[in-house]
Assembly symmetry: C2
Homo-oligomer: 185 residues x 2
DNA sequence: GCTAACCTTAACGTAAACGGCAAGGTTCGC
DNA sequence: GCGAACCTTGCCGTTTACGTTAAGGTTAGC
């Protein structure tokens, strides 16, 4: 409670947290955090004298990133791992880019970065499009219902015809690979 | 191969498929389809004389819906189950709505429907927002890289400063419930 | 300098989402 | 009316993403 680690006269305190503090802060469990480290999604950050894991703000950011991808986007940890690797590669590329003046080299770095970015975008776009299509439909439905309800409460006649029937949205064959050959003539 | 089931003189053939055909069509496995039925996501549709599962177009739609939610939106089958139940309830509500003329009853049905729809929307909005925020950032990055590359290939000076550093996007505390008490006693 | 609270690794357990196999019944073309 | 191909219901195996002890070291308050 009465804890002020900010030694005003010393160096800028790095604000290192132990695993339970991190977990509480992010709404995760200590086990999950260790597991992410186990999978290589997270670098140990630092260890105390007695080998306690210590996390800095960057670690927190990274964990927030992981949590967001997991909870909100429904990515698997394997997919998240790829995204994080792409992020890391991006960082490294920026370094390499800065430390070279060779134009061909720079071009290669940029092309690699572009490739990664396009893969990321493709990975995300499929999800977004489907989900927002559903959202649009759901919200249209909500507005319809609200109008209907307003009509009813105003004693008006409900003349709004109910929209389409059946299962909503989703019809495009993003997967529709009717298997392989099959030679259907 | 020389198979035309459309008996032009008989009734409108319901076009029932066996499980392997369904699986192939949708890019799933027979096991997965049985599993979905096991979980109650799907009604048997129909059974042949020898209790073979037979699927109609509505089943196909429903399965496409499930697959889309699973693959594209990253929903768990439990979440999908809820969404489907809401859909089913919606259908039933429409029936109930049509078969009653009681205004209070109708109002209750509409309020229930509105509630479900709002829950669906909330469930979807979190996902969409996070994912499209990421997408925006990724695409901004792509455009930056493309400009950079174009400059380089045109022999121009790359004056574009690299954008932000560190882990991208995601900072809002949609989860950030700093875990209130400890009260586990 | 003791001890309660927290941490470590190691190991096993579990729910979800199927994969795969066994043992047997069903379809269907010939 | 028969065999190959497909289907059925079990039931056990597997991967993912952790939960849960177990058996100890570490920190921090008093």
């Amino acid at each position: 409670m009465t804890n002020e680690t900010t030694a005003a006269t010393e160096d800028a305190a790095p604000r290192l947290l132990k695993i339970a503090e991190v977990a509480e802060e992010l709404g995760l469990t200590a086990r999950a955090v260790r597991y992410y480290e186990e999978l290589g999604l997270l670098k140990p950050a630092a260890r105390s004298e007695g080998s306690y894991r210590l996390f800095d703000d960057d670690d927190l950011e990274r964990l927030r990133f992981i949590r967001g991808l997991r909870d909100d986007a429904g990515f698997s940890l394997a997919e998240i791992s790829r995204l994080l690797e792409d992020e890391d590669a991006r960082e490294r590329n920026r370094e390499r880019f800065r430390t070279t003046t060779d134009l061909g080299e720079r071009r290669k770095i940029l092309l690699d970065a572009l490739d990664r970015v396009e893969r990321q975008a493709t990975s995300l776009r499929g999800k977004t499009e489907r989900i927002s299509a559903m959202l649009d439909e759901v919200e249209a439905r909500r507005e319809h219902l609200q109008r209907h309800l307003a009509d009813l409460e105003a004693g008006r006649e409900p003349l709004h015809p109910p929209p389409t029937t059946g299962v909503p949205v989703l019809a495009e064959p993003s997967h529709a690979q009717p298997a392989h050959e099959e030679a259907r003539s």
